[in-house]
Amino acid sequence: MDTRRTRLTPLVLAAGVLALLAAVTVSTLLGAAELGWTRVAREIVAQVTGGVSPLSEREAAIVWQVRLPRVLLAGLVGAALAVSGAAFQGVFRNPLADPYLLGAAAGAGMAATIVVVAAPAAADWVIGPLPLAAFAGALGGVGLTWLLGRSAGGGTAVLLLSGVAVAAFLTAIQTFAQQLNTDTIKQVYTWMLGGLNTSGWHEVLLTLPYIAVAAVVLCLSARLLDVLAVGDDEAASLGVRPGRVRLYVLLAASLATAAAVAVSGLIGFVGIVVPHVVRLLAGASYRVVVPLSLLGGAVFLIVADQLARTVVAPAELPIGVITAFTGAPFFVLVLRTNRDRVR
């Protein structure tokens, strides 16, 4: 039995899963509508056992049609952003890499702005074009960066710089479109700040396949991300094709990011902070960083959204404010208590 290698022990995995279950449960029991958490708990038990519920039909609908899908969507988006952040940091060997780095945010922002500007009433449509545009914009931004990077010779540094160029270009288009239509600035700005207030089962089912596929691919690639950490030449000397690993890891991470952006706008901080907290607490090997970022990201965003919808209820705070406001001090705390592990 070798305990010196970093691996996901059953105990740590169980703790992560329990934390997630706890976050889902608490967030479903408590919400802006004051239903009383004991009554919600009895409603859930009644649904499972077929007993009598203490809630009215309308109240039950709040729990099952509003709260639960929103909690699950927060979990999905948090998991997607955190695991994508971890993957980007691995591919670029750069601790500051985040899922928006390669033009995903700028692409989504531009596409969303154009939709809002071109069709101000779009938010009221049955199937909103906004998520679709954001999804396509995010993938388009990353695709453009990839093509530009490849034409300039490939390599991680070139790819990063291409991302900077593409983001600047797309943001310029977005700003231009916005300046021509100043009346929609608030709508665009609200979307950019991110939020889960339009979520329902539809959004959960829409994003689940992309995020699930990406999560599986990234978990299976965790060992190869460790190999990439020793550099391209050494990775190749170990029989790994670094370019190919980068391609499918970035593809999976970008797919998850695009799905997350489509339903929640731009939620910052999750993709950087969660993987780093996991590294500091559980070790730097991607075998633990990838799976624990999935769980940690889900828990973090569920808790953040819980705060976003209850702190100033019945109004809502933008979730990006919560993730930065709570995440930053927590991050500093973890950094301070792990001083010897940080250089």
């Binding site: 070798d2 290698r5 060992r223 190749a236 029989g239 790994v240």
Partner: protein
Amino acid sequence: MSGLVLRAVAAGYSGRTAVSSVSFDMPAGSWLAVIGPNGAGKSTLLKAIAGLVPSTGEIRLDGVATAALPARARARAIGYAPQTPLIPDGLTVTDYVLLGRTPHLGALAREGARDLAIVAQVLARLDLDALAGRALRTLSGGERQRAVLARVLAQQAGLLLLDEPTTGLDIGHAQALLELVDRLRAEDGATVVTTLHDLTLAAQYADRLLLLDNGAPVAVGTPEQVLRQEIVARHYAAEVEVLTTARGHRVVVPTRPAS
């Protein structure tokens, strides 16, 4: 034949040839040191043998053309350590050495008990046992070089390509590392190719030296044949004296030009 054979090998980056016309035969279990001034093409030659840069000519390992080998099979046959390895700071020594098992695993497979046993064995052999759980960033320069060597050894390749393995090491640590490589060569019958800046160390450890200058081989043979005052002076553009110790080792000493 068993061992490493190069015939008219040329290699380089993006159209520029960094090294050409290299031919030699190395019996299995021997040690060749590639020497030469900065920019002579030593590292490129090692990378060409490892299959990391495009090359022409013929490279055969134990009778098999390495170019015909799939990437993983080649990685099981050839271990490579670059001059300045990227050290993933946060990984533990064990995690890092485990990466050496990559060519023995399927793309999605996990390490098994056998891989862990091999890593434990390598750590013990390199006296890294006590450091096994430490993060790489906490190691000294000498310990890091040993960890890199351990990672290469975990590959269990018959050919070890070590690019300047003593970079940044003091005289004692450099000696200890080369002694270690020599012991592994004797015990495992591994074939070793190193580049070395220190000509005196190269003369003491390698069976044969290959002197490159400006991308071309200019001398090859035993240390006594290659390390001659006029050869070293010409190709390194240096004033040197070549001495022979009581035990018969060549020693190259730079001497200050007379003013």
